[in-house]
């Protein structure tokens, strides 16, 4: 049976992902641009400003806020070093205390605070984050350049983490073998898979490990 082609931006079954962060992926990004088939214009270049909420107590839930909307993904499994993440919840501000209590704080895996209001604005939510020493809001600005290599969705990205610059590359697909072939083609087979949570925690000094280069 022919495999279904991935469509950038479309919702599909959970994808596996290779991603890494460092200062120099010039070779990989050049190869990515050369091997890529043409991609829709809307993914040529994308800019976004996001806030990640980091929790000291876990590395399995990835919470970010973009355009006033909260999105939590949860780690499902890793196969051959490639990671699979599933959407856990999506919410919008103002957000209800019920959602914070039953979905968001359990994802942070920290003590659930007392809620004295029915709903919370984004500013109020940030104030709650600031008051918890196990949580931290981190500003992330992304300039992403989309490609498609070996039927995998690829990107090269310039990323500012609290204003400091790193470079990221990734390849994601429902098909493991397609990602592995892409990693080989891009000459990043031996590069460590580093997801956003790991990269941010390393930069802000929560994990004392270097980035890929």
């Amino acid at each position: 049976m022919a495999k279904k082609e991935l469509e950038i931006g479309a919702i599909s079954k959970p994808r596996f992902e290779f991603r890494s962060f460092g200062q120099d992926f010039d070779v990989a990004s050049y190869l990515m641009s050369r091997y890529s088939v043409p991609v829709p214009e809307k993914v040529w270049e994308r800019e976004s400003e996001e806030v990640y909420i980091l929790s000291k107590t876990n590395d399995v839930n990835n919470t970010k806020i973009r355009d006033g909307k909260m999105d939590i993904k949860t780690f499902v499994t890793a196969v051959d070093g490639l990671e699979q993440w599933n959407p856990l919840m999506k919410g919008e501000f103002p957000i209800s205390a019920e959602v914070l209590k039953n979905e968001v704080y359990p994802a942070f895996m920290v003590e659930v605070p007392e809620f004295d209001k029915a709903e919370y604005t984004l500013d109020e939510f940030f104030a709650m984050i600031e008051s918890n020493p196990d949580l931290q809001a981190v500003r992330v600005r992304k300039e992403r350049y989309g490609y498609m290599v070996n039927d995998t969705i690829c990107e090269f990205a310039d990323v500012l983490i609290n204003g400091a610059h790193v470079v990221s590359i990734n390849s994601e697909s429902t098909e493991l073998e397609d990602i592995k072939k892409t990693m080989k083609d891009l000459k990043v087979e031996d590069v460590e898979n580093i997801n956003y949570l790991q990269a941010i925690k390393r930069v802000i000094g929560w994990i004392n490990k270097p980035l890929a280069n």
Binding site: A137, N162, A164, H165, R202, I204, L211
Partner: protein, 207 residues
Amino acid sequence: MTHTTPRYEFRLFGVKEIDTFIESLQQQGTAGKVRHISEIYLMTAGNSENNIKIRNKLLDIKTLVRQENGLEQWNPAEVGTFPLAKEKIKNEIFPALGVESPALDREVYTLKQFMQELILVDPDIKVALTEKKRHAYDFADCICEYADVQINGAFVRTLAIESENPDLVYNAIERLNIGKDIENVNYPKALKRVLGLEIDYDINKFF
């Protein structure tokens, strides 16, 4: 401790916008040495007056003497080279960090023991590993530099103007077209922002 004369300093950090000022320094200044330096900064949320770093096993603490009309005067002082006696660690380093000293079991600590047993285990202390490529310049009778800096692997650029005479620093700032709205950001402040130890009220501009 050894002491040198404190200089007045203006420093800024950035990624792209700073390049204009660096180009101006390159055009007008006289280039000096280029140095590659690896340093460990020790950071705490409550400390803004002490710049604590380790280079080649030498720990030094720069203390903020005064802030005056947009400039800062720092007093550099060498604490000592590792291995360091526990008295120095207890009486000089932890007070400068602004956190309580833990019980010190050893009489003397190597750098590795200091980092592993006292620093990395303390939830109130964060470590910033920096790799700097520093380009020295003479400009307008000031000691200047720009540097490419990696902070825990993430990149920023910095430009600094220093002199014992604050008027010379003001003159250099003006000649580099650095506007009065540009904030003077010292190393600890920049590191604290990247590490998230200083609350960034700018966060709301994203929404």
